[in-house]
Symmetry: C2
Subunit: 341 residues, 2 copies
């Protein structure tokens, strides 16, 4: 033992010193450099201090530290259309040669023709049909590969970048900062759980088991080699929007989150449920008020109305009355995307 | 920086030495002391080595290390009856004074009278009624408190101990050993998710978000103070048995487990799905063949038949043909409970 002890001291000195220097440097630098100084940034710092300082009245033990993030409009761009919807439309074009009947039947006909006006008027039933042919009928593995493959090739129309480049850098920094302080970060999205799982680990640093999304049932069956596999029938299981968010958070986590981030009426209940957990808690809601660098829509605060990521005046008023932090993209975010100059 | 560096060296020397000594001691001692030497114990060691040694052909990166454990009959005693069923029966007796009508209506009448013969013949529909009145109609918080309270007071009939004392020590050691090697351990049980969540953290060292169980829907609503709460309507969401186990594992984890532990036909699909993930994998199945120290039932291997934790001969044959390890409680486990002499 003596010998190994000596070896240890000889070799760990340098490593330790390097670690200490790194820790000291990190403590000096700003963990949220893409945020402008102001009440939003300060609220994040205050929340972390209040819940992780052992002397704090609202100290939260590590096993109860959970933070939940909506995705579309909260951690990445959702305009002019949800990325997963673009995926579905492009998937239909890709599958069209195998379905000659689509040329004459809606909603497929309009998608294949690229008829934006017709597409903007699709009904819920038509979106359902699009979802069924693009998201179901294959194994779980096959679907994840289809999604991964599309994301590696697809580019958005405005910036001509992979969709996974359209992540908000301030939110990535917030996730990392929370994780560095013992928080488990979850994506809680109305989008498809498996679509998000296909890229979340490299993009957000969030593991598959920490993605809560809308989900179809899966069905256990056997492949030709007799191995157990799961396929995706056209049957919904979780609709992870509105009240579905706290319901599914409870199903997956079994606790109130301590912090929640959203941007639309679909996140209202998640933020309410987070606040209902008591103690120190943090609710933040992104207002898209920067047409220059991203998009501007509400209709809260006099911004243009939208069906995609609606932020009503009523939600804005609830936020103000309950002490939730409204994040102004324009004023609170110094940098929106990692690749900005 | 120099100053803090010096301070560091002065103070960390002792800590480091203590850590090294502890690590050395741990490496020398057996992490599975309640297992007898033999192929079952060896299979666990081989699996961990094959999946965590970076030079191994079947090395598994830490983010893919998941191990799933059935509960009833695999990690704790399930005879003469599932603990959660005993909870439900005793809960009905507790609620009986508020329900005078139960005295004359089944299945409540037989439970209140303690009529074992009648109770053993309850139909699925009757169990459903018992479940509804004992598990639903309250908030999620209220249910967890009811379960926690009952578990703190209830004692089993054979050993006169809290039910949470009836955990199998070899399985606790296996969980700890897997966790020490980077595995995330999950309970995957046909029992109620929230019942298990009410004690899993102190008993298994497994956090709420790692409990996958049968679940009712929850419904988001508001309490009198206007706070968001979840209540439990009488509506099933997940039946986490048989094919439901791999389906729900995928819903929660999004991956094949690398190791799975069960004891009955209800675990067959979970073990198959684990094996179908390929690479090095471990499937273990507990055979209750020790009437002396615990219970003996099968009917595999000529043991008596049972409706609770049925282990058929077909499952036994599948295990043998697929290389799953059948754990003989009698031969493989040196000690079954922590409190044994």
């Amino acid at each position: 033992m003596r010998h190994s002890g000596k070896l240890c001291f000889a070799s760990v000195r340098l490593i330790l010193c390097a670690l200490l220097l790194a820790a000291f440097a990190a403590a000096q630098s700003d963990p949220l450099p893409s945020w402008n100084d102001g009440p939003a940034k300060q609220a994040i710092f205050n929340f972390v201090r209040a819940t992780t300082d052992q002397g704090s009245a609202n100290y939260v033990p590590p096993e109860e530290r959970f933070a939940t993030f909506d995705q579309d409009g909260t951690t990445w761009v959702e305009h002019p259309m949800y990325t997963e919807m673009i995926f579905a439309f492009e998937r239909i074009k890709e599958l069209a040669p195998q379905h000659p009947e689509w040329k004459t039947s809606e909603p497929f006909k309009s998608i294949i023709a690229g008829d934006q006006a017709a597409m903007s008027k699709f009904t819920g039933k038509e979106f359902g049909e699009i979802f069924v042919v693009t998201h179901t009928g294959m194994s779980t593995e096959a679907f994840q590969n289809i999604a991964k493959d599309w994301l590696s090739k697809a580019r958005d129309e405005r910036w001509h970048r992979p969709y996974t480049d359209l992540i908000y850098q301030p939110m990535l920094e917030t996730m990392r900062y929370l994780r560095a302080n013992g928080y488990q970060t979850y994506i809680v999205t109305g989008g498809g759980q498996d679509f998000v799982r296909s890229y979340a680990e490299p993009v957000y640093g969030i593991a598959r088991q920490q993605i809560i999304g809308s989900a179809v049932e899966t069905q256990y069956t056997y492949n030709q080699e007799g191995q157990g596999i799961l396929v995706r029938p056209a049957k919904g299981l979780l609709n992870n929007n509105f009240a579905g968010k706290p319901e599914d958070i409870y199903l997956f986590i079994g606790r109130h989150p301590k912090a929640a981030f959203g941007n639309s009426t679909g996140d209202q209940q998640m933020l309410e449920y987070t606040q209902a957990g008591g103690g120190s808690n943090l609710e933040m809601i992104v207002l898209h008020d920067d047409a220059q660098r991203e998009y501007a829509y509400g209709p809260a605060h006099g911004l243009p109305s939208t069906d995609i990521g609606t932020f009503t005046q009523a939600l804005y008023d609830e936020a103000k009355s309950k002490g939730w932090i409204v994040i102004s993209m324009k004023n609170d975010w110094k940098r929106i995307f990692a690749w900005e100059k």
